[in-house]
Amino acid sequence: MIGLDTLTYLFMAVAGVISLIATYLAVVENDLVKAVIFSALQSTVYTVIFYLLMAPDIALVYIPVSVGLYPAVILFLIKKTESTEGDLERSGGGSK
């Protein structure tokens, strides 16, 4: 039988690991649209951690800002600029 504390820690650990992987993918991803989606995934699991740490007020503001508004602003900017990191430097391909 798993206790409530252990279960809470387990969820937090899983959320932390997912956020870590998402952070790594967001940093190394060259396609900026995908990077934004990884960043939103990271924020989503942060919301879980906030909720488990008993901060529902922060969780409530974190969902719309980090999943809705912040990716939207970044996506608008990507649309107006370039969609791939370093478009001009590596036009002939390269080791990815």
Binding site: V27, V28, L53, D57, I63, P64, A72, V73
Partner: protein, 278 residues
């Protein structure tokens, strides 16, 4: 490229190991998280936030976070709001001189030709009332349950964002959600915050009693207070009005910024380069 990836991976691993070391060596104490016992300061807030036995200290709100944000530490929140709205003013200043209404007229070729598919549009039409209702409940119950003006306002801003992406910015402008109306709503919200902050002082001036700015419940030497109950419903004095005003101001502020961001680049360029005159 490979070195960059290894560097990123290595720094993440070092960060995680450092944090783990800090936690296991007792940086946050050896208590489990969340802490089983609250500290003295938290105990004081939890004990007074809704406690009619301490009429000089209570905020008359069961939601301690909102009580701290808008009553105990109200001035902090006022300046946070000011910072947010200065940022919006900056966005408005950048987009000055681009007449959105004219931009809307110059591309008016029917609503249905722009935006995503009919499925997306229908689903959005169903979702928008739900988003508005949820955000309003977050804001209006902010003094009773987790949530508040900023949370509700940023949730409400998702509705115009969906319309912007799935229909188009011109759909929104044609429906009256323009930068002018959003500016008016934002100003109304800010005036509401201003009046709520000064409410006790105004009552004090009228009745000749001593009162403070940002006062909610009666205090020592300042017997003026905003009633906590409205027809037997708990509104927690100023907290309800602060939440409603902040809700309007934040929702319209975010919508304003998103509208300015989503005006198509070529139209902005056309207006800036002077091809089209006002």
């Amino acid at each position: 490229m490979r070195i960059k990836k290894l560097l990123v991976l290595g720094s993440l691993i070092v960060l995680v190991l450092t944090l783990s070391l800090a936690f296991t060596s007792g940086a946050l104490g050896y208590y489990p998280l969340p802490l089983p016992n609250v500290r003295m300061l938290a105990y004081w807030y939890l004990n007074t936030t809704l406690n009619p036995n301490y009429p000089l200290f209570t905020a008359m709100s069961p939601e301690a976070v909102t009580a701290i944000v808008w009553d105990y530490r109200g001035l902090d929140t006022l300046f946070e709001t000011a910072v947010f709205f200065l940022a919006i003013v900056g966005a408005l200043a950048l987009a000055r001189g681009v007449p959105l209404r004219k931009a809307s007229d110059s591309v008016s070729n029917g609503d249905n030709s722009r935006g995503l598919s009919l499925i997306c549009k229908t689903a959005t039409k169903l979702l928008i009332p739900l988003i508005i209702a949820v955000s309003a409940s977050i804001a209006l119950h902010g003094h009773l349950t987790p949530g508040g003006g900023f949370q509700g306002g940023s949730a409400a801003a998702i509705a115009p964002l969906l319309v912007l992406v799935i229909f188009s910015v011109f759909f929104l402008l044609d429906r009256g959600v323009s930068e002018k109306s959003m500016l008016t709503m934002r100003t109304a919200g800010l005036v509401g915050i201003y009046l709520t902050a000064l409410a006790a002082v105004l009552i004090g001036m009228l009745t000749g009693l001593n009162a403070y700015v940002f006062q909610n419940q009666p205090k020592l030497n300042a017997p003026v207070g905003i009633p906590a109950l409205f027809f037997n419903a708990l509104i927690s004095g100023t907290l309800f009005f602060f939440n409603v005003s902040e809700y309007l101001a934040v929702a319209s502020g975010f919508t304003l910024a998103l509208i300015l961001l989503s005006i198509p680049e070529e139209i902005v360029k056309r207006f800036i380069s002077g091809e089209v005159h006002e």
